[in-house]
């Protein structure tokens, strides 16, 4: 064989949503990067739902954008419909969601990858990772091996300093539609059958997870007159902080809402024993929070109906995605079941619903950098880490990509904690918890969500993107100016008062507000539910001209100040425990008074700080106090010796 060994800094395995962000981050940071994909025509493919964002996932997209990722920019260019969800609730749970044109999204991302300097795309199945022994043991880090390269199926090897595993659902995947099993990746794509064994040989433990997708219908066979039309917002707010809002105001495509009914549920119940999950054929564990229609029927026996959203897959096709009715029931049951739904009576299925099973990482093997424990230079992201969802994958891909780059360049790692971003929550949960099912982001997972709003993702995280090198000086300066303007305006509103004179009182009355007893600050008036920043304009002649997003920040800051302050206090408490570090070489056998279960869990997860330790399942507060006292007496002892 001719030696055509190639040299790169980073190899990214998989070109899904995680892989694309990882590869772009590394290449943009100047590292020679190669991204491997099973199919170069399916880069950033969306094998399931045709939308990006949604409750809490929209937050992730905003955060990805704040850090310098690509997802928000790509969807801004290719969405068919855009909507801000939960606007009747508080700003913490507002979430942006876009219907994507799947093909256009994939093409857009491929274009970006192809035009990225330092980045090569390679269609190949990576069959092996290559590792060498590498012994490091210190208070800061512990390794036994390091990554030196990858080998593809053809036998060619690539020397690399870091590998980022973004294998999605492709590792030894199989798809199930009732009794029919296909050994393929999603949508008939090739699975990757060889890499798993190589990972196991390197000491990595794998498990099986499953997820599923509903059927795609021929749009021409759907009767939309029986469904209610769902429109997008006008005006549209872009996902990316760098997209000019003017560029995203364009005609939108509608979605459609219909419901299941008792007949649907009846069919499902009668045939539930033919579902591979209930029949026990599927070994993988599915996501509780993205349930199949059969799971919903079983879980909520009293519910007479479930929502079904019919969404376009793109402008290039008639295919419609039947959101809310994913299933792994046999095709005959699917046809009967879908046809009970109003508007789908005569529907024809283009692609059947199926469940997919795949290999992914067992918990307890990730470091907070998303590097796999013990193997220097081996990072992982996305569904391989046990998550579910495009946004979750992309966020991890970006995070792992930046950290791989930081490692190679000898710079400090990117770290986002639970109080700084949903990405921090996501990473911490994947690193610390024994998730027994595919992990999906949810608002309830974020403890400090009033601070982690989608509207302030840039304020929270752009600085970190700038420090990592993905955000330009110019963009960063723009943010600094924005923050200044917000602070000034808040200060001005707090210190500017209006007197209780006749004109003001008349204004109060006209707006249905109680008259003033004494001079009152504009900030206090904004807190009255009947007013907004906008409506106070007539009595605030001094106000500067400010952009919409600045006004939004000013309003939220003033209106929810008490809540924000209290949440910030919670964060202070949280940080105190996060700052209590646990040495990497701690021997939990020395902590004699730990309960056995706690000792085993701590040994398995090896948390880096006390806060993280306290979040590990099976470690209770008493164990944490034992640990605290142990560390404290250790430090006290050390200081004594000095």
């Amino acid at each position: 064989m001719i030696d055509v060994r190639e040299k790169y800094d980073v190899a990214v395995i998989g070109a899904g949503h995680a892989g694309c962000e990882a590869a772009l981050a590394c290449a943009r940071l100047g590292l020679e990067t190669i991204i491997f994909t099973m199919s170069a025509d399916n880069i950033a493919f969306m094998p399931c739902n045709p939308h990006i964002g949604g409750s809490s996932k929209g937050h992730l997209v905003r955060e990805i954008d704040a850090l310098g990722g690509q997802m928000g920019k790509a969807i801004d260019k290719t969405f068919l419909q855009s909507k801000m969800l939960n606007t009747s609730k508080g700003p913490a749970v507002h979430s942006l969601r876009c219907q994507a044109d799947k093909m256009e999204y994939s093409k857009e991302m491929k274009r970006v990858l192809e035009s990225q300097e330092h980045l090569s795309i390679k269609q190949a199945e990576v069959s092996e990772i290559l590792v060498e022994d590498y012994k490091v043991e210190s208070e800061e880090e512990e390794y036994t091996k390091k990554i030196v390269g990858v080998k593809i199926f053809s036998g060619i090897t690539y020397d690399v300093k870091a590998v980022i595993l973004c294998t999605g659902t492709y590792l030894k995947s199989r798809c199930l539609t009732g009794e029919a099993i296909t050994y393929s990746g999603p949508n008939g794509l090739l699975p990757s059958n060889l890499l798993s064994q190589s990972l196991i040989d390197a000491g990595i433990e794998l498990r099986r997870f499953k997820t599923g997708t509903p059927a795609r219908m021929d749009g021409n066979t759907i009767d939309y007159s029986k469904m209610s039309e769902q429109f997008g917002d006008s005006p549209v707010i872009p996902f990316s902080f760098d997209t000019d809002p003017a560029d995203v105001q364009r005609p939108q495509v509608s979605c459609w809402l219909t419901y299941t009914n008792e007949k649907t549920h009846e069919i499902i119940r009668k045939n539930i024993d033919r579902s591979p999950i209930y029949a026990g054929i599927i070994e993988g564990i599915g996501p509780r929070y993205c349930p199949s229609i059969e799971d919903k029927v079983v879980k909520f026996p009293d519910h007479e109906r479930h929502q079904v959203f019919v969404e376009p897959e793109g402008t290039y096709t008639n295919e419609m995605y039947i959101d809310g009715m994913s299933s792994s029931l046999p095709e005959d049951v699917q046809i009967a079941m879908y046809r009970t739904v109003p508007g789908l009576e005569n529907c024809k299925i283009v692609k059947s619903a199926y469940a997919i099973e795949y290999d992914c990482l067992c918990p307890g093997q990730l470091q907070p950098t998303l590097e796999i424990k013990n193997i220097h230079g081996l990072f992982s992201a996305g569904q391989f880490n046990g998550s579910s969802g495009y946004e979750e994958a992309a966020a991890q891909g970006l995070y792992a990509g930046i950290n791989a780059a930081m490692q190679i360049q000898g710079k400090p790692y990117l770290s986002i904690d639970r109080s700084e971003g949903y990405i921090g929550v996501l990473v911490d949960d994947l690193v610390t918890k024994e998730n027994l099912e595919p992990y999906r982001m949810m608002t309830s997972r974020a403890e400090y969500r009033l601070l982690l709003r989608q509207d302030n993702a840039d304020i929270r995280l752009r600085k970190k993107g700038y420090e990592a090198g993905l955000i330009s000086e110019e963009k960063y300066n723009k943010l600094v100016t924005k923050i200044d303007e917000i602070n000034h305006e808040v200060e001005r509103l707090k210190t500017t008062t209006v007197g209780a004179n006749a004109a003001i009182q008349k204004f109060m009355e006209e707006n249905g507000s109680s008259t003033l007893k004494t001079a009152t600050s504009l900030a206090e008036l904004i807190c009255r539910p009947e007013f907004s920043y906008e409506t106070l304009a007539p009595i605030d002649p001094e106000r500067p001209t400010l952009s919409k997003d600045i006004i939004e920040q000013v309003e939220i800051t003033i209106r929810y100040e008490g809540y924000i302050n209290r949440q910030e206090r919670q964060v202070e408490q949280f940080k105190k425990l996060e700052k209590k570090l646990i040495p990497a070489d701690i021997d939990y056998n020395d902590v004699s008074s730990l309960r056995l279960e706690a000792r085993q869990k701590l040994e398995k997860f090896r948390p880096t700080n006390i806060g993280q330790a306290s979040r590990i399942g099976g470690v209770n507060p008493a164990d944490v106090s034992v640990l605290l006292i142990y560390l404290d007496s250790m430090y006290r002892g050390k200081n004594d010796e000095k």
Partner: protein
């Protein structure tokens, strides 16, 4: 590293575990890694062998404590039973040996000395409990309660601490937390899965539930003041003009028939404090030494000092000679008593012919609104009359006159009270958010705080100051 860490628990400690009295049997407890080895040096079995190391854990053996430094015929110190509890199945989770001796202070002290010579260290007060806590045997509330039992000053304090020890506070707080977490979980579920969890009408329901929890916490807080008084007693100062009868009152209160509980020298300033028991309640008489030396307290120490004493006190006993008119000096004293819990004693009631001050006159002088219900008691120190009335008045003033049902839960710990107050305030804020019609996701901010505060009480939430708390509680480290 291991060496440094082991230092924490490396000592083997010993102490007499039973009361120091000439009772029939006394127990000396030894705990630590060298417990067996050390005890073996001073113990021989009935067959005169050092063979403690061979004994099975959790058994009792019979033998002698010997002092081998003495001549052979004098070596036996006492005939004892020894029980051995092996780690972690003991109170401290360390190896523990308990020596049941025949008691008697002399013998017990002799055994203790032998153990100290053989390598034990004398345990600090509460150190067994400290180890039990540090070794994860008991949680912080239990440890707190045990410390309270050890230092309980009266039966009430003991009862309250025991309730705490048996986890009554624990189960109460746990129940309240469960209510809160359930509501939080519902809100979270509805935010994540609005299709299947409906929030219509939820706010009103929640408001009622939270109001109930607030009531319960409020009640617990209100017991805290009373619980504290029952546990710790009332700081009391006696004021009055010369010859009004202060000394007589003091003597009556502290007389031979009434127990002087303690003599504590020096609090923040060098004040002598005398503690007397009045029925159920303990009174700490502030600066009674000063009062004893001279009747004229105001003259002696100056009005400023008197003022600060009165200010510091929780109860003022103002004694008047009812046979002489109220004058300017009394006016000064009355000014001092304003806004203080005061009981007026009209002394020398036995000299009925010469009475010049009546209840009405006193009431007129105490014009302050807060003293509308001013208790005024006629006493005769000479005849010992009125002390029962005084007892009742104090009880009325501080305990609402209620007889304490034994099962009542009393919060006697300041840390708990503060945390309950935090939870109370947070829940008020939840109701505030509801009344302002804010959306449900705002409620969780404060529900969370309340949940955490309650959790800190029972050690189910790790407070950042936990280590400090523990270290100060057990006076360990530096």
């Amino acid at each position: 590293m291991a060496n440094l860490l082991n230092r924490l628990n490396s000592d083997t400690i010993c102490a007499i575990a039973t009361a120091m009295s000439d009772a029939g049997i006394g127990i000396i407890r030894v705990s630590g890694p060298r417990a067996v080895e050390i005890c073996d040096k001073v113990y021989v079995s009935a067959g005169k062998k050092h063979n403690l190391l061979e004994h099975k854990p959790n058994t009792i053996t019979y033998g002698y404590i010997v002092d081998e430094s003495l001549q052979e015929e004098n070596q036996i110190v006492d005939e004892v039973m020894i029980s051995f509890m092996k780690a972690p199945h003991s109170y401290t989770r360390e190896d523990v040996i308990e020596i049941n001796s025949h008691g008697g202070m002399l013998v017990m002290n002799q055994i203790l000395e032998l153990l100290l010579k053989s390598g034990c260290r004398l345990a600090e007060p509460g150190e067994f409990t400290k180890r039990a806590f540090l070794n994860g045997r008991i949680d912080l509330t239990k440890a707190e309660a045990i410390m309270d039992v050890i230092s309980a000053q009266n039966n009430f304090a003991l009862e309250a601490s025991r309730n705490q020890l048996q986890g009554k506070i624990y189960s109460k707080i746990k129940a309240l937390r469960e209510i809160i977490i359930y509501q939080m979980a519902f809100i979270e579920s509805a935010l994540d899965d609005p299709e299947n969890y409906d929030l219509t009408g939820f706010s009103d329901k929640l408001d009622g539930i939270i109001a109930g929890v607030i009531d319960e916490i409020g009640h617990m807080i209100s017991t805290a003041d009373e619980g504290k008084i029952r546990k710790d007693g009332i700081k009391t100062v006696i004021v009055g003009k010369p010859n009004a009868g202060k000394s007589s009152l003091l003597n009556t209160l502290t007389g031979d028939d009434r127990a002087i509980v303690t003599d504590i020298a020096g609090t923040t300033r060098d004040i002598i404090e005398e503690t007397v028991r009045l029925g159920d309640i303990v009174l700490h008489l502030i600066d009674t030494a000063g009062i004893r030396n001279t009747d004229d307290i105001i003259e002696k120490i100056g009005v400023d000092k008197a003022k600060s004493m009165v200010q510091e006190a929780e109860l003022v006993l103002y004694i008047l000679d009812s046979t002489s008119e109220i004058d300017d000096e009394d006016g000064d004293i009355i000014d001092l008593c304003m806004n203080k819990k005061t009981i007026v004693l009209l002394n020398k009631d036995d000299l009925s012919d010469e009475i010049k001050i009546t209840e009405d006159i006193v009431r007129m002088r105490f014009s302050d609104a807060s003293n509308d219900n001013l208790p005024i008691i006629k006493t005769s120190m000479l005849k010992g009359n009125g002390i029962d009335d005084l007892k009742k008045a104090v009880s009325d003033l501080f305990l609402n006159g209620e007889i304490v049902p034994k099962q009542e839960l009393y919060i006697t710990n300041l840390r708990h009270k503060a945390l309950l107050q935090n939870a109370y305030d947070s829940l008020k804020l939840v109701r505030d958010s509801i009344s302002k019609d804010l959306s449900e996701d705002f409620y969780t901010v404060d529900l969370n705080d309340a949940y955490a505060s309650l959790g800190e009480i029972i050690g189910e939430e790790v407070g950042d100051d936990l280590v400090e708390e523990i270290f100060s509680k057990f006076c360990m480290g530096k």
